[in-house]
Symmetry: C2
């Protein structure tokens, strides 16, 4: 059992608190702008998870999360701190400087940033060797992937210890060897999204259809096998055979992809309107709740497969 400081009590910070608490750790959650909403939202999420049978005991998990009165109270004696404050480099720099002054000498600090390189706010501190980016997928209590991105000053032991912690929590850590815009997940996501917007923007297909290509096509395989593994199983001689056999076709497509495509405001508005017809913004939280229930059921299915081997 470890003591975990969670800084920032927005959607991501609260979800992280659940990840740590359900694994048995003591969580101290703090926000520079405390909100009654955060307390209520956390309780509602925990109740929803208990209803779905996704946490063993609502009372036990809830009792392990306390709201701290100050940053110092949240992180004193903490073994690990997860930072999930707003996505502004100046705010993150200031927080890291504050932490640097009060952290115990063994504490690791992970940042949830999705777009700021570690070297932009984790460098030149006494604790720099123990800082790294630990980027979750929203929401981390439902989606296991976590990207570990060290800065040039991060110690290898920090990466190893954080990787072991994440694995013990039931997350799936991956390593980003050196700094790159968008890390791995958002690069893959935006490569696909940018080409999708190109196809919609240039009138090759509708927004509904481009979404269906993923939900009713690509994701049926990707839920089980990554993009390289899909290729490996699609040729009698594995991935090398896949690239050999499809080489020409892949080249012709690759040369015409437009992942640099900047969608016009009209294109974004048209896609937004198509989504709005199915999932009105006035009701987004209901749709997000439906999404979360479905992800939970999918997680169970995939866990069963893993256990069957």
């Amino acid at each position: 059992m470890a003591i975990i400081g969670c800084v920032g009590s927005g959607l991501v910070g609260r979800s992280w608190a659940i990840v740590f608490a359900r694994a048995g750790h003591q969580v101290r959650l703090w926000d520079s702008r405390p909100s009654a909403d955060a307390v209520a939202s956390l309780a509602a999420t925990l109740e929803g998870l208990a209803r779905e049978g996704a946490i063993p005991s609502l009372g036990d998990v809830a009792s392990r999360i306390s709201f701290a009165d100050s940053l110092k109270q949240a992180v004193s004696g903490a073994d690990y701190v997860q930072e999930s404050i707003s996505e502004r480099v100046d705010a993150k720099r200031e927080l890291l400087r504050d932490l640097d002054a009060i952290l115990p000498p063994h504490t690791i600090v992970g940042s949830s940033t999705s777009s700021i390189p570690a070297s932009a706010f984790m460098a030149g501190l006494a604790c720099s060797a123990r800082c790294l980016i630990v980027h979750p997928v929203n929401p981390p209590h439902l989606i296991p992937l976590v990207e570990l991105c060290p800065s040039p000053e991060t110690a290898p032991e920090t990466v190893e210890q954080t990787s072991a912690l994440m694995t013990a929590l039931g997350q799936r850590p991956i390593m980003v060897a050196r700094e790159v815009e968008g890390f791995i997940l958002n690069r893959l996501q935006w490569a696909l999204l940018s080409e999708a917007m190109h196809l919609v923007g240039e009138g090759y297909c509708t927004p509904e259809d481009v979404d269906a290509v993923v939900t009713h096509g690509l994701a049926r395989r990707w839920a089980h096998l990554g993009p390289l593994a899909v290729g490996h199983l699609n040729a009698a001689t594995g991935l090398e055979g896949y690239f050999d056999g499809l080489g020409e076709a892949i080249t012709r497509v690759r040369d015409t992809l437009r992942t640099d495509y900047v969608p016009s405001e009209q294109t974004i508005a048209r896609a937004h309107a198509a989504l709005e017809a199915r999932m009105p913004v006035s009701n987004l939280s209901d749709h997000a709740a439906t999404r979360d229930r479905r992800i939970l059921a999918l997680n169970r299915l995939l866990q069963d497969f893993e256990q069957q081997g």
Copy 2:
């Protein structure tokens, strides 16, 4: 009940035969090079589906598929012909010319090609107005998505009738409004795969980790929501808010994507070796069978959700 001619009895042709036969249609399967293997493989696939409870009656479905002795026998009186021969434009052109001479005047011809534009082999025939590409995802009896790509000569009624047929079969047709390399699915797939190979090739992450980003991250959402819908639910004001809020971060990533990246032979070999350690080529058919069982279970889960609304 319709009569369906399936031309080509490889993996894709056999899977199409199952799609039509399980929906109650009479299928006549023909191949220019008949093989005993095809008969045995079809029987084995049907038995596997019956074991999983994925077809109502093995005997009924099997009895609706017969192997024809000639192209003429396969397509005489057919309401619809699905072409799944080898992916060579000259072979497809020759087949279409042969079909043109013998088809009844109402028969629609769909081609399973994944990479040849319709205008390259479906133009200038008496039956051109009734020809279009009907591109499945492998294997179509497990993955519902189908891309309908007309040639400039395809009649609108042909597209409408084929769309209605595919929907009645339980497939999910999407429309590709005009010719484009790789249609929609392979463009999205290769946009993601090319960036994945870039990240592996330049040493940002391992082949295992890039696959995990999809299986343990992106696909957990994409199984339920397409890429545009994911964005819509990720901002309080929907897709427009998503692009507004992340605009700068998306731009920085978009400008550095390398979906034009040509992986070296060494990079492909390294990724192949990593996959080989988990899924040896000597055992690929077992891994493909596991994949197929898992897709079937995922389909059931997603169908349950759709029925719940």
